[in-house]
């Protein structure tokens, strides 16, 4: 078990379960939240290296949560990876504006997820 905390935010419990199981098998410490509010509530305790953030959620949407995290004085360095169903030009621009660092198109391919996490951890080291 590494000390790398990953926070996964998705309103779909099945998706959460699958992602959690996979990431735990890779040795990450996984925390989950079912919506934006719960995600923000976890930031204080978890201080994750990476947040995987579903775009379409009830309440605050993923872009809004990304913006709050990336603009926060303490959590601004967190890598934010969006989970999005569509990834057209406009959608990616929305992501850029919110400050997100990367995105994964749903349905999630697990090997792709692993690669994305790794490359974002590397980028985190580079920017530290």
């Amino acid at each position: 078990m590494t000390d790398i905390n990953v926070l996964v935010v998705d309103d779909d419990p099945n998706a959460l379960d699958i992602v959690r199981t996979y990431l735990e098998s890779k040795g990450y410490k996984v925390w989950t939240a079912k919506d934006g509010q719960e995600a923000l509530a976890h930031m204080e305790q978890v201080r994750p290296a990476i947040v995987l953030l579903d775009v379409m959620m009830p309440g605050m949407d993923g872009w809004e949560v990304a913006r709050i995290i990336k603009n926060h004085p303490t959590y601004g360095r967190t890598r934010v990876v969006m989970l999005t169903a569509r990834s057209d030009f406009a959608d990616k621009h929305e992501g850029l504006r919110s400050g997100a660092d990367d995105y994964i198109v749903k349905p999630i391919q697990l090997h792709e997820l692993g690669e994305r996490i790794e490359r974002n951890l590397k980028a985190l080291e580079k920017t530290a």
């Binding site: 934006g36 976890h42 204080e44 201080r47 926060h72 004085p73 992501g95 850029l96 974002n120 980028a123």
Partner: protein, 566 residues
């Protein structure tokens, strides 16, 4: 405030020292004031303790409580802090940290220890994060006005008078358009640091109590106290404002270069508030802030009119020169062409963006454009090697100018228009689409090529660009800055390159400043590259920079052709 620190991490020690100085807090080493004895204590406001595997957090907490201090724990990234330890502290930090985080955690630790209970419910915790995002500025680490108003009120009531220094920060719209919003963020951060530095240097602790705050529209406010006789006070205020203004401007210039500094205006205005028992203190404070803001805006207006006057004489005397920025073939690092950038000889009109903004204000864009076109062409045409192109920027207003519309290439000194690329920004091209298509046809018939500038800035979709069928697509600079660590940008640029390849157009990445950015756009397959990496001595070590500067300084092509009187 009294801080007791037990820290081994050098970076954290330095940060704590810095913040303590700025807060005029007394800082003590735990080893000097505390004995290992669990019962030892000292009167203090805050303990900052870096935890080690052998740290007995409960003992430290007991010592802090006996000392009447809040406890802030710092832990190294590899040492997982037990939940019980977190619960014992008022707040905690994972190293490495930043000044902004340290300040914020110090503040929360103190307010929690002062009786505000730990956040319990998830809803509260989420709200807290949202508020922190609003109350503290991430860039500057400054608290926002709502956080500070209470302290300012206390200060005014205690001292009877308070001085507001209002730092009005303005920038030309173009700075975001050209350099991207991250650049603007960088400049703001530099300015904020300079404000702190000025404050630490200029004011002996104890004499001037000062606080720094930051409001929504990127201005800063300092509350200070100017101690002197009433007659001398005004004089001294003026001196401080001027000194601060000069200091901030020169700091921004040193950190970001003339071009960026020219696009930012920093104006300082001052106002003094006196306690008046008949008026609510908050109202007095806000009134003082408004007065300071007005004074700062007055200074701005004055400078604007002076610039218009200067522009008129610049055009009359032809006091401009042209810089040619190389555009590099990404794969071979050979020079493909040059973008002509106009500069004013007068210092405050050096930046091309400022030149055009002032010209628009003075209604003299056509005159300016005609002068610059002539200079840009005559300065390089004879020197262009075979296969090299000249990229000329066209201002949207130019299309209204009959002299431009009916442009005669020969008269302008262009023997072969197919070697000239007209650059038009995406924003304009899309806005005036039908009219623009017409003009384009005429220019194409004469042989000119053309480029859509600032593409992919999110203003227009790819479809609109496709309809314009440009020969070149120049990517918006916001897509390039830090592209090596932002995968969303990499993906967007990939999309643009694929799109261009399908259209028979070629992509130019502007604003490449770092070797890492160059390597990334090269990997993605961006055809051409442009940026400081290739025409700044700063990166002389990079092979691409050497090649470009070799071409530039080979004697037959000077990097800047100065014409007109200076």
């Amino acid at each position: 405030m009294k801080i007791v620190a037990q820290i081994r991490d050098a970076a954290l020690r330095e940060l704590v020292g810095k913040v303590a100085t700025e807060l005029s807090a007394e800082l003590f080493d735990a080893a000097e004031v505390l004995t290992p004895d669990a019962a030892s204590h000292v009167s203090a406001d805050l303990f900052i303790v870096e935890t080690r595997t052998d740290t007995d957090v409960q003992r430290v907490r007991a010592q802090a409580r006996r000392s009447g201090a809040a406890l802030l724990l710092a832990t190294s990234p590899d040492a997982q802090l037990a939940n019980s330890a977190i619960a014992d502290a008022d707040d905690w930090i994972r190293l490495p940290t930043t000044e902004a985080e340290l300040r914020m955690r110090m503040e929360t630790a103190r307010s929690r220890a002062a009786g505000m209970s730990h956040v319990r419910t998830a809803a509260d915790a989420a709200e807290l994060v949202r508020y922190e995002e609003l109350l503290y500025d991430k860039l500057t680490g400054f608290p926002t006005l709502p956080v500070m108003i209470e302290r300012a009120r206390e200060l005014l009531e205690r001292r009877g008078e308070l001085t507001v220094l209002y730092i009005h920060f303005v920038w030309y719209e173009k700075i975001e358009e050209i350099y991207g919003w991250q650049k603007l963020d960088d400049v703001l951060e530099t300015t904020a640091q300079a404000v702190r530095h000025f404050y630490a240097e200029e004011h002996s602790p104890g004499e001037n109590l000062m606080m720094v705050s930051h409001v929504a529209d990127d201005d800063f406010i300092l509350f200070t106290e100017v101690r002197s006789s009433p007659d001398a006070a005004e004089q001294r205020l003026r001196v401080i404002s001027e000194k601060l203004e000069i200091f901030l401007r020169s700091t921004v210039e040193t950190a970001h270069g003339d071009d960026i500094a020219a696009l930012c205006g920093i104006y300082v205005g001052a106002a003094t508030i006196f306690r008046n028992p008949k008026i609510r203190t908050e109202r007095l404070l806000y009134r003082g802030i408004r007065e300071g803001a007005q004074a700062a805006r007055g200074a701005e207006d004055w400078e604007r009119s002076r610039k218009v006057a200067d522009l008129k004489s610049t055009i009359r005397d032809g006091a401009v020169f042209i810089e040619y920025h190389p555009i590099i073939v990404t794969a071979t690092e050979e020079v493909y062409g040059f973008e002509a950038l106009a500069r004013g000889v007068r210092r405050e009109l050096r930046s091309p963006e400022v030149l055009f903004e002032v010209a628009a204000e003075a209604n003299m864009v056509w005159e300016l454009s005609r002068l610059l076109r002539k200079r840009a062409v005559s300065g390089i045409m004879d020197e262009l090697k075979d296969g090299q192109f000249l990229f000329l920027n066209i201002d949207p207003h130019d299309f209204d100018d009959p002299m431009f519309r009916n442009l005669d290439p020969d008269e302008l000194g262009i023997p072969d228009p197919s070697r000239v690329v007209l650059e038009i920004t995406e924003r304009t091209a899309i806005k005036d689409y039908p009219r623009f298509q017409e003009y384009l046809k005429d220019f194409r018939a004469k042989g000119f090529k053309f480029a859509v500038d600032d593409a992919g800035s999110g203003y227009a979709g790819l479809g609109s660009i496709a309809n314009l069928a440009p020969d070149y697509i120049k990517l918006d600079i916001s897509l390039i800055a830090n592209i090596d660590t932002n995968f969303l940008k990499q993906n967007l640029v990939e999309t643009m390159v694929q799109f261009a390849n399908g259209q028979g157009a070629m992509v130019i990445a502007e604003g490449v400043e770092r070797p890492e950015e160059f390597e990334t756009v090269k990997q993605i397959g961006v055809h051409f590259t442009q940026g400081f990496l290739f025409h700044r001595p700063r990166y002389a070590g990079h092979p691409a920079a050497r090649k470009a500067s070799h071409v530039l300084h080979s004697g037959n092509l000077p990097p800047a052709v100065e014409v007109g009187d200076s």
